[in-house]
């Protein structure tokens, strides 16, 4: 099939960007979206033109590096997949596809379709871990975890940190990502010691960069891992509690 692409081109972080139109010819159904872009880039290079910059790594939906706004939808029209898992069979011959980078204050465009997502790392650095400062790890089966908690924590842990939730949100909010990272640890026994500090720190770091939640639900539709907004509800509750519990922990509550 032959497609017309309207792609956002921007030389650098401070340059003004614009859409440019390219032809993608002989696109096969079974190609992934990124392979299709690779082909376009090869043609551009052969022509001596600058290829389109975009991020990708694993190309199997597990690393969270890829991410494009395709026809106004984060990661494109297919539910529950990252851009790299989107196949060209989702498109029809002759179609025009518009490709834009994620847009948010926290995700400044670096070049073309590549954005800086280090704001998500800031949230992780604020508490998205469990401290194990000494000794050997305990045997995994020594710590009992109730099955529902393990399952729900696993659902949350599926987040690959791609930032599609922020991109899809009309408010540029980072709640889905943050709440998934919080729930992943806060639901497990190993996460309890730092639960309230983690919640307070991660939420407040999130608020340095991102917008607020208006419960639109666009994030869970865009999320390649189908993280539900239920986790945001849990985060809202834990944040309120953290304000009280953290004081109790130092004997001030």
């Amino acid at each position: 099939m032959n497609l017309t692409l309207k792609v956002w081109r921007q030389e650098g972080p401070d340059a003004a960007g614009r859409f440019e139109t390219y032809q993608a010819n002989d696109v096969k159904d079974e190609m992934s979206f990124l392979e299709m872009l690779d082909n376009v880039n090869e043609a551009l290079i052969e022509d001596g033109r600058e290829p389109i910059t975009f991020d990708s790594d694993c190309r199997e939906g597990i690393c969270g590096t890829c991410g494009l706004m395709i026809n106004g939808q984060a990661h494109g029209p297919q539910k529950g997949t990252a851009t790299c898992q989107l196949h060209m069979r989702k498109f029809t011959d002759g179609e025009t596809i518009v490709i834009e980078p994620w847009r948010a204050a926290a995700f400044p465009v670096q070049k073309d379709l590549m954005v800086d997502r280090s704001a998500l790392d800031a949230i992780i650095e604020a508490g998205g871990y469990i401290s194990a400062d000494t000794g050997a790890p305990r045997d995994a089966n020594e710590i009992l975890v109730p099955k529902p908690a393990a399952d729900t924590a696993m659902d949350a842990a599926a987040c690959i940190g791609c930032g599609a939730c922020v991109a899809a949100c009309p408010n540029g909010a980072g709640q889905l990502f943050t709440s998934a990272k919080l729930a992943h640890l806060n639901l497990l026994p190993q996460g309890q010691a730092e639960r309230w500090k983690r919640t307070e720190d991660m939420v407040e770091t999130m608020e340095l960069f991102f917008g607020s939640c208006t419960n639109y639900g666009e994030c869970q539709e865009a999320c390649p891992k189908e993280i539900p907004i239920d986790f945001i509800a849990l985060m809202n509750r834990d944040y309120l509690k953290s304000k009280i519990k953290n004081r109790k922990l130092i004997g001030q509550g």
């Binding site: 106004g72 704001a119 729900t152 500090k197 607020s212 419960n215």
Partner: protein, 258 residues
């Protein structure tokens, strides 16, 4: 593992620029909460519940209109006499009014604060059209429906509480039924009441659905994902309140009451 005085500092690896300032934590959790967007959402939700209670009882009380002038005016008088003789006349009414005013002010102030945050969080809009999947029309228009309800409220107060002459020239203090019937008999006014209440209905629909999420009642622990009861309750509540309220101008115009 105890609380620190401020959120952790950003490391040099973090190259995205913050849109808000890092604050030292206040000794009073309420201050921190009111500063944070998650906390502001709590305020929106809790004041929202108070305001929902108000519109519900306002609607129920107004149903007395169908019983005629005696019952309606009696009810209006009852509100002034509430808790007499424990409290002097109209004191209980004023306490409720003050509570409502506080709830309104906080609700609007938080909505404003959150809107400002959200504008900052996406300074450059998408340059191509977005294709929204989930968001409902009611949700997307919350700010507008909120503003319309607010303006309508001012008109409604001028019309039937303060009895400003330019708005309601036949206003007589204490004659609640007659004032209402006169007002709604003018079709442009009736139309305003219908528009105001339609906006209220949409606002209530998303607000009611949303508040459960904000106060965390849909946590994965009880995981009723996309809870149909919550949707149903939100829709039912919005339709009930707006529907009954809209019936008043229609019935007055149709000559059924008044």
């Amino acid at each position: 593992m105890t609380a620190t005085k401020e959120p952790p500092a950003l490391t040099p690896d973090i190259t995205s620029r913050p849109i808000a300032e890092r604050h030292r934590r206040s000794p009073f959790p309420v201050v921190d909460l009111y500063r944070s967007s998650v906390g502001k959402k709590w305020v929106m939700a809790l004041t929202g519940v108070a305001l929902m209670g108000f519109v519900f009882f306002h609607m129920v009380g107004n149903l007395k209109m169908y019983l005629g002038p005696v019952d309606f005016n009696h009810y209006a008088e009852f509100l002034r006499e509430l808790l007499v003789p424990i409290l002097p006349r109209t004191v209980a009414l004023w306490l409720m009014r003050i509570g409502l005013i506080v709830a309104f002010v906080l609700h609007i102030h938080c909505a404003y604060g959150l809107t400002v945050i959200n504008r900052k969080a996406r300074p450059t809009k998408y340059q191509s059209p977005r294709d929204y999947v989930a968001v409902s029309w009611a949700a997307r228009t919350m700010r507008w429906s909120g503003i319309i309800v607010g303006l309508f409220l001012l008109f409604h107060l001028a019309d039937l509480t303060w009895g400003i002459h330019a708005v309601n020239s036949e206003f007589v203090r204490g004659e609640a039924y007659q004032n209402l019937a006169y007002s709604l008999d003018r079709w442009p006014v009736a139309l305003l009441y219908i528009i105001g209440n339609l906006a209220l209905g949409f606002h209530l629909y998303h607000g009611t659905w949303s508040l459960f999420q904000t106060v965390g009642s849909m946590s994965p622990r009880f995981n009723p994902r996309h809870n149909p009861i919550r949707r149903g309750f939100a829709a039912g509540f919005a339709i009930l309140v707006a529907g009954v309220n809209i019936s008043f101008p229609i019935m007055v115009l149709a000559g059924v009451v008044g």
